[in-house]
């Protein structure tokens, strides 16, 4: 495992809500070494077959890049229907995506929306990196749940048993990998655009002002060779009318071209860094966003015994697109935990977000696992197969310049907040005015009950101010 001593920096960019099939399902033709789309996958709805379909056009435009619009159902109950069908079968069949989508209110206009997929040419940045380095077709979301549970898995190896964003008490108290990094003298930073979800983690509040930085600092740290051991990047979740910024998180119906641009800027910064040869970059999505994927999620190891919402977290979520970038990665790699396919209910388990924790623990000697889940997770170091860091990949990647019109900005700003934005807004409203002193206990967990502003613009204005004030930025 040559990379074990060679990797000193891990960078994780976690985007939002896209499935593997949606983004990378046709990266390579389907074969035993790549679990891609055949093109005949389908869901039944009202007696008609709704097949997967290719988004038309050689490239994406302002409309096609926002499919599916409106945003499909996000809750645990929605995902259960998507995975097990309706009525639910005994095993995951991936047959309920269309049914669940058409049950949303108001009824969406196009039942085919969740069955779309983009071609590699339509998402050229992600595809180019996947081909130049490695794509992982066995990476599942940690839980068949919304954003927050999955983001807590990447930070703490659990989500304390809560299945939906709105169910989480504030603050979140499970020990995080960041705390472990600090305790072991390892450096880390959370780079964010507007409101970092990682502010939910109470165990790092007292040191948060030292570690949370705007994304522009990531670009500078990369180029200056001052990246910490672990960088976690959060995309822009809100429309910012003051700076003409559209979200780049890829959360439907946000335009994926902005996410492409973010991926390109992260890669270009890492690639231009003096630390490039010692860096591992992981690009992934937190969950599938109700976009269709044809691979049933296998059974998973429950992270702990907490079940406040009745779910044991004994099943992974839907596959998400994940790219592994490193000079130790051979071009065109297909990163798998098990080359010939996975059993559905036993080890070896697929990659999930806790594979990042397993990798960090191994790389930086961070001690025992945080939970039973990350104890079982395969790490990424085995995929870094080159003896020397010799795959430099493209020197630079260009993203198609996406530019929002004023009408698009105003429409996004006037829209009601989505689930993620609403939850972030509640979180920011309940942040204390300043972080507790080291050793001072955070407030006891309480329901996330603050009212949410009625528009994205108002939620953005309030929550960015509150987050900034808390961080002293």
């Amino acid at each position: 495992m040559p990379a074990l001593g060679g990797i000193e920096h891990v960078v994780v960019l976690m985007l939002e809500n896209r499935s593997f099939d949606c983004m990378l399902g046709t990266l390579y033709p389907p074969d035993p070494g790549f679990e891609g789309l055949r093109g005949d996958e389908q869901n039944l709805w009202m007696g008609q077959r709704v097949k997967v379909w290719r988004v038309p056009g050689d490239t994406l435009d302002a409309r096609s890049a926002t499919i599916p619009s409106p945003d499909p159902g996000e809750l645990f109950a929605d995902m259960t229907m998507q995975i097990f069908g309706s009525p639910p079968g005994p095993t995951p069949s991936m047959s309920g995506f269309v049914e669940n989508y058409m049950r949303q209110q108001p009824t969406p206009p196009d039942c085919r929306a969740p069955m779309h997929y983009f071609t590699p040419e339509q998402v050229p940045v992600l595809s180019a990196l996947a081909r130049a380095f490695g794509v992982c077709d066995q990476w599942h979301a940690s839980a068949p749940c919304q954003t927050w549970p999955n983001r807590f898995f990447v930070h703490s190896g659990t989500c304390l048993g809560h299945v939906d964003n709105a169910n989480f008490p504030f603050p979140y108290t499970a020990p995080s990998i960041f705390r472990r990094m600090s305790e072991r003298g390892r450096s880390w930073r959370v780079y964010f655009h507007d409101v970092p979800h990682a502010l939910m983690l109470a165990d790092i509040w007292s040191e948060a002002p030292l570690h949370f930085r705007y994304f522009s600092a990531f670009l500078a740290d990369s180029v200056n060779g001052t990246l910490p051991n672990y960088s976690f990047i959060e995309p822009r979740y809100f429309t910012d009318l003051f700076l003409n910024n559209i979200p780049n998180d890829e959360h439907p119906p946000h335009n994926v071209l902005y996410g492409e641009a973010l991926i390109a800027s992260v890669y270009n910064a890492v690639r231009a860094s003096p630390s490039w040869k010692k860096t591992l970059l992981v690009i992934t999505c937190d969950e599938h966003g109700r976009c269709f994927d044809h691979v049933p999620p296998p059974a998973a190891v429950p992270p702990d015994d907490r079940r406040p919402d009745g779910f044991a977290f004994d099943r992974y979520g839907v596959r998400v697109p994940t790219i592994i970038v490193s000079p130790y990665m051979a071009p065109g790699s297909r990163v798998r935990a098990m080359p010939t396919g996975l059993p559905s209910a036993a080890a070896p388990y697929p990659f999930d977000h806790t594979s990042i924790l397993a990798t960090l623990r191994k790389l930086f000697d961070l001690g025992p696992p945080l939970t039973r889940r990350d104890a079982a997770a395969p790490d990424l170091l085995g995929a870094l197969s080159l003896d020397e860091p010799q795959n430099d990949g493209p020197a630079r990647i260009s993203a198609e310049a996406a530019r929002a019109t004023i009408a698009q900005l105003e429409a996004r700003g006037a829209a009601p907040p989505n689930h993620m934005q609403a939850a972030l807004s509640r979180m920011a409203a309940q942040l204390p005015p300043r972080p507790p002193a080291p050793g001072e206990a955070p407030p006891p967990p309480a329901p996330l009950g603050a009212p949410v502003p009625d528009t994205v613009a108002k939620a953005h204005a309030a929550s960015t101010l509150q987050a900034r004030s808390f961080l002293g930025l």
């Binding site: 910012d240 009318l241 003051f242 105003e410 528009t455 613009a457 108002k458 204005a461 309030a462």
Partner: protein
């Protein structure tokens, strides 16, 4: 405190001597002496003209950019283009009145050069306004952002402040706990709104006349400094000419073209500049 430029006095004297020579425009007989009463009247008229423009500039958006209607008038930044228009209007108007009162002459006082001066400054002012209207500047984005927060004009800001005061009065009356909690939340939300408002307008609020007219969002802007410097220098020449010759000075075509070029540079560079 900033250290004064050590040669300021000598430079000023040199400029005035040069201005006087320029304004005389050649060897002419000295102007006749003016009796004290008309001289006093002329001085009062000139001071009055300057005072009126100054007061209007301070109290209204007459000389201000007015890029964000959410900013109260006294905090709007000064506009270089508008200021130049007012500058030449005031000088020519005050010079005319002073010459008229002091000498009794009013025909032939305003020359074609003065008309050119006012024309150049008016064209600059109008062009600057047109550029502001046409381009999508950071001020436009701030305007859109504030409108999305329900703040269309400064009156809306005042309304939010009044809503806070009203709720604070209700809170002071010790209402039921649920009402108190609701009021506290509403007050907090409105304070957040005002904080977002202050953040958004900060780059567009006046930082004083000199800084406003010589800087944009990136800091000092050479094209602005150049335009201001030539305007002030020709203004000094104008004033010295009126005082020493009791007539408006004859600027030759080169000087007028120079002013025109510097103002055209200002307008041209204004299009891509981030706006203050």
């Amino acid at each position: 405190m900033r250290k004064p430029f050590p040669f300021a006095g000598a430079v000023a004297a040199m400029i005035l001597r040069a201005a006087a020579a320029c304004a005389q425009g050649g060897a002419e007989s000295p102007p006749p002496a003016i009796s004290p009463a008309p001289l006093a009247g002329a001085v009062v008229a000139v001071l009055l003209a300057f005072a009126l423009v100054w007061i209007a500039a301070r109290r209204s958006t007459l000389l201000k950019d007015n890029l964000l209607p959410q900013i109260e008038p006294r905090r709007q930044p000064y506009s270089l283009g508008r200021w130049q228009m007012a500058f030449w209007f005031t000088l020519v108007f005050a010079g005319f009145v002073a010459i008229w009162i002091a000498t009794g002459q009013y025909n032939g006082v305003v020359t074609s050069q003065e008309l050119w001066l006012m024309g150049i400054s008016a064209a600059s002012g109008v062009s600057a306004i047109a550029v502001d209207v046409v381009k999508d500047s950071p001020a436009d984005a701030a305007n859109r952002g504030l409108k999305a927060l329900g703040l269309d004009t400064y009156a809306d800001v005042e309304r939010v402040r009044e809503e806070i005061r009203q709720r604070e009065r209700e809170l002071a009356a010790q209402p039921a706990p649920e009402s108190a909690q609701r009021l506290a939340l509403e007050i907090r939300d409105r304070h957040l709104l005002l904080a977002a408002y202050e953040n958004a307008i900060r780059p567009f609020v006046s930082e004083g006349w000199l800084k406003d007219v010589t800087t944009d969002l990136n800091g000092a802007a050479l094209h602005r400094v150049q335009s201001l410097a030539w305007t002030l220098l020709l203004g000094i020449v104008f004033v010295v000419g009126v005082i020493t010759r009791h007539a408006m000075p004859q600027f030759d075509a080169s000087l007028l073209i120079l002013l025109g070029i510097s103002n055209a540079g200002y307008v041209g560079f204004k299009y891509p500049e981030p706006q203050q």
